[in-house]
Point group: C2
Chain length 219, copies 2
């Protein structure tokens, strides 16, 4: 590999196709770096950082080179600079607006969960078929009617949506959100969404994760 003179150059253009797993690992590295920073640690070797997050140091170095050249040979990584750069790559240096659609059982639980905000995501609005009924629970987030999704998405420039509607409604709701400008969906419904190529769907299903464990604990 050719030596790159300027440390911390983030390649923004002509970036190679980056494996999705590498992006997940960046998030894990970031959490670890934030803990180091909070503990007053200023530099960290790739070996130490890799060990702390449970990957091989070759993997860590490879993941970081997708985004430019980080660190100085023999000195390791500057923790604060790496936090800033990884946050920048992940787009979490500023609070990002997110909407939540479907204020049922799980949607309500997620509205009570303040962890998204702590990590740089603000749920600017929630939507439900019966907003009056759901609003009475007094969430910090306003619960609006489904007919207001497009307006709010455009007004706040929202790109990401948390989808917690019943499976039979999920595809139609996703279509509406995508038409309004949503390009990233965190899908909690148990159906496989059909979306255009430029839309990314991450599927999370807590019951299915437990069911998967259930299979393994028995066999």
């Amino acid at each position: 590999m050719a030596a790159v003179k300027i440390a911390f150059t983030v390649k923004k253009s002509s970036r190679p196709e980056i494996p999705r797993k590498a992006i997940y690992r960046l998030s894990i590295y970031l959490r670890c770096l934030q803990r180091l920073k909070a503990n007053g640690i200023r530099t960290v070797s790739s070996e130490a950082l890799a060990a702390a997050v449970g990957v091989k140091s070759t993997q860590l170095r490879k993941d970081l080179t997708y985004f430019g050249q980080f660190g100085t040979r023999g000195l390791g990584y500057d923790v604060e600079q790496l936090v800033t750069l990884v946050s920048d790559v992940l787009g979490t240096t500023r609070l990002q607006p997110v909407i939540l659609v479907g204020v049922g059982n799980l949607g309500s639980a997620l509205l009570f969960y303040r962890g998204f905000q702590q990590e740089g995501f603000e749920i600017v609005a929630a939507f439900d078929q019966f907003p009056q009924k759901k609003q009475s629970r007094r969430f910090a987030t306003p619960v609006l009617g489904m007919d207001q999704t497009t307006e709010i998405i455009r007004k706040h420039g929202v790109k990401m949506a948390v989808l917690t509607v019943p499976p039979e409604a999920a595809q139609a709701v996703a279509n509406t959100l995508i038409d309004a400008g949503i390009t990233g969906i965190l899908n909690f419904s148990t159906i496989t969404l059909q979306v255009p190529e430029d839309v990314m769907v991450n599927n999370v299903n807590l019951a299915i994760e437990l069911e998967n464990l259930s299979y393994f604990v028995q066999h």
Copy 2:
């Protein structure tokens, strides 16, 4: 492949190594089959079932053959029988006991979420470092002290735990749970747990899923 005469034989012994993704897909098939059953549909072809869940029919048939021979050529699958058999493979035909450890922000949200119970999992107890403080929120589930984990795990024969403790506590707590008999952990903390080979960990991190989307919506 040799024809198997007896339909619906579930191979319990000498089962080949089954990809984890196939187990996830079984859960998705099950949800779809349950919807078909609820709608009074008695048989379904592999093509129709595959289309409904968004996989290729060859994939569906391959996944099911891991567990024996299902369906009759030309007649398709008997929906009710397939529901029963897939549930049996996944171990969700009876309510399974689960514990939750760490009643913070996310742990509380999950205790309010009733979806686990609907899918066959009962959170028999929750544990926290400060149980009195957390109990006051009046969850349906009792919140006990960390010193009671081993007793409860053994008493209820619990195999699965939902881990929602802070990252710095996660490994030590996991060790205690595993010593007491837990073999499946749904890990919401952002560290990679080190566990023995016979213990399965499924990692879920909602903020990381959003962060991952955040990367893609920007690039």
